[in-house]
Symmetry: C3
Subunit: 355 residues, 3 copies
Amino acid sequence: MSFVRNAWYVAGWSRDFGEPLRAMEILGQRLVMYRASDGTVTALEDRCPHRLLPLSKGKRIGDTIQCGYHGMTFDGAGNCVRVPGQDNTPKSAFVEAFPVEERHDIVWVWMGDPDLADPAQIFDMPEFTSPDWHAHQGEALHIEAHYLNVAENLVDPAHVSFVHPTTLGSAASENVPVHVSTGGDVITAWRWIRDAPPVGFFQKFGGFNGHVDRWHYYHLHLPSTAVIDFGSIATAENCAEDDRNRGVRIFALHFVTPVNEDRTIDHWMHLRNSALGDEEASAQMDAMFNVAFAEDKAVLEAVHENEKRPQRRRPIRIAIDKGPNVYRKRIRDLVAAESTEDLGAAEGASFVHHD
Amino acid sequence: MSFVRNAWYVAGWSRDFGEPLRAMEILGQRLVMYRASDGTVTALEDRCPHRLLPLSKGKRIGDTIQCGYHGMTFDGAGNCVRVPGQDNTPKSAFVEAFPVEERHDIVWVWMGDPDLADPAQIFDMPEFTSPDWHAHQGEALHIEAHYLNVAENLVDPAHVSFVHPTTLGSAASENVPVHVSTGGDVITAWRWIRDAPPVGFFQKFGGFNGHVDRWHYYHLHLPSTAVIDFGSIATAENCAEDDRNRGVRIFALHFVTPVNEDRTIDHWMHLRNSALGDEEASAQMDAMFNVAFAEDKAVLEAVHENEKRPQRRRPIRIAIDKGPNVYRKRIRDLVAAESTEDLGAAEGASFVHHD
Amino acid sequence: MSFVRNAWYVAGWSRDFGEPLRAMEILGQRLVMYRASDGTVTALEDRCPHRLLPLSKGKRIGDTIQCGYHGMTFDGAGNCVRVPGQDNTPKSAFVEAFPVEERHDIVWVWMGDPDLADPAQIFDMPEFTSPDWHAHQGEALHIEAHYLNVAENLVDPAHVSFVHPTTLGSAASENVPVHVSTGGDVITAWRWIRDAPPVGFFQKFGGFNGHVDRWHYYHLHLPSTAVIDFGSIATAENCAEDDRNRGVRIFALHFVTPVNEDRTIDHWMHLRNSALGDEEASAQMDAMFNVAFAEDKAVLEAVHENEKRPQRRRPIRIAIDKGPNVYRKRIRDLVAAESTEDLGAAEGASFVHHD
């Protein structure tokens, strides 16, 4: 297992949750989620403890869920409030409830020990609420690949020239060195490509004619939230590295949610300091992002498939892997730190036997 | 393994068997079946002992089957009667033959020790041949679920209110207690719902205007034949429990045949004491049954899928589970009683290796 | 494992290889193949050693392949010639290269120890280059079956009467005995059917009116190249066994390439001593072969599926199995002889773990 359980993961955008029961899977755990009458979002284990029908196949009775098989009913805290055919409710008649927080139109769920769930740890950045920035939520990209490969890709500027040659990158950057800093809970890889023609994206959205200075900063927040700060500014402007707001600047956010060992969902959105309130620009950017992310998806799924085959030689690592290497090391450490409690759970795991 | 081998299972209706070779699977055993020229039905192991081609891919030569690969030919008893290219037939050149009995337009096959096959044990009831009753064979419901879950569902009146709220049940019955008797080879669960509006089925077929008394008797005959005796009578008639023929009464029969550990076929039919000879009524009832059984199928397949996932907690049992609990206990006992002979067979099991 | 590694296998016809990168799998090994600018065909391991993306998802830069993920580049010998972002190339940055030979418009690849690859061992026969013979390459038949079953079928005259009753065989041959010789690296099974009506194929292509003498010689060259010498001649001609060129004679060649344990490709072609240069006749023959090979495919895939099920009894062998039995014995011996080196490779095999 390679999942960090004590963490907040994005379950979806606020607009995705309403009255209907919604079935999801995060870290191999099936969830049923819905928005309760007080506006908060509920996340419960999607498995009736009686005959194991997913509760998402049942129906809402007010803010409770009635199982679709025998009518056992659970409230938003996972407590059983009714067992048809009897008056008492067995102690074991409950489902797990998962802490949920919602902010900036994003719904987060905590997959670990509920006692450790601290809303202050939820990913935040000031641009979410600044009037100088425009936020736009994109779609959910479903990828048949392990989440570590998806997240690693997001702290890996070196792939851009080869995977996205017509959209986000160009051959001009192939040999530009990548800097990496690895302090705290964020790993950052970055590079500047100075004095080069604008790439496709900024040809379209920047209105640049001549050469530009272009930057990519890949910030990967553990366990799997990526902030890609990228932008361009006319080379003539002589922009300093920390003065990037002078250019056309975009934060592409990727909230990488592991579904299970073979599938991952990337909820992506962006923040930008130009074209504020321009939904036409948002739609055009989404279209370009969709092209680029389909390129990532094709690569990641082919890698995943090849990784599942027997390997006679270990993969090699090269200089550009510094960010990914540090990232994987940090995840291993986090998983190891959680392993004592996980071990107990794993030992208790079993299957239903009909014998 | 959870199969009771020494038992008669329904392979299909008489109309399903004729000249063509028909491939089936029962208890994980592949069979080829056909109707011989004397009108009897033959069931053979569907695997040529030579190169393992299913005999159902071959062709009939009179009452024998000629394998489609090298022409080895078997009679209805499974004996090899021809080996092309040689004069003698090796002792090991045979396929298993399974006893078959046909009655009341139903074809039964015995999956265990042929020496124990006793036609007197085949399920029977007097209404099959009574002129006061109309028999109508429905279809075969293919369910991606374990047979114990399918059969359990048929001794479980409590699910009707929740799975079939618009057809066979209603909210009025949700809390009516269930009685269970467990004598002999039949487990029976039943309840009466007195003085309530008629449910959808009897609104349509009973012609009732006012309140009715409604009954459900679920008889589950080991290993997996269910008789659901259900009906309605005007409440004003003051019907005694054992005087149900006065009302509109239906026996819904379910012959549950395990295909393998993941699939089950439910051959269903009914007997009724009204609308005798009315094929229009039969068709309308089939349509309603199809709606209800599709509801069961959806629930059972979702349960099966969830059961195959790792379980961190054991499923719980509640008061309404008395019938299912007793049923599973009986099956476990039957399987255990057969296990000595099964053990020998299982130890001999192997795969074909190309090495 | 049942693969003979030190052998030449057919990867395809010459016409199948050109500029584009072509992904294949042989003996469970994924390959990327392409024709280089000097006209030779290259075969490399289809797996970048860095992040395991198949190189076939990358692009050609001249005669090298640039990986589609991070641009690592490999020449036709499998050597890494570029690692973007650094100047040196790690010693472990290579992919395996497989020897390739091309002759008679057939592309062969050597899957074993490159030091043992001897082009002189490639299958050859004088009719390839004789002006008295017409060569015609057919298609590639993809079969979901183990290659031993596919190859065995090609040294098995006995199946023709039953699998191909309307095309290549007839009931007249069902009981004609089969001769087998097993010297050297070729197993041969053959029989003559004397004085019988011509079968469908020779009715169409031989122009025979009366009875013919018909022969089938099945030569199976280890590990899996089959030459089926078949033909017909008017019975009145009194043809001696070794004077077959007097009749209408066809060599059907089958180059059986194991993809993995569950899939096989049969590249088939023929050589004939009639209708030289007649492409219409070639197309008509292809059409008849396609009918016959679809019959084989259906049988072989059904056998493969049944072989993967648990077996309570061993398959039996009969007199007509002499050729197949010897063939399997030879393969076992070859595999055993290679096992010492294989063992080392297998012990080194592992999977990528995300932990």
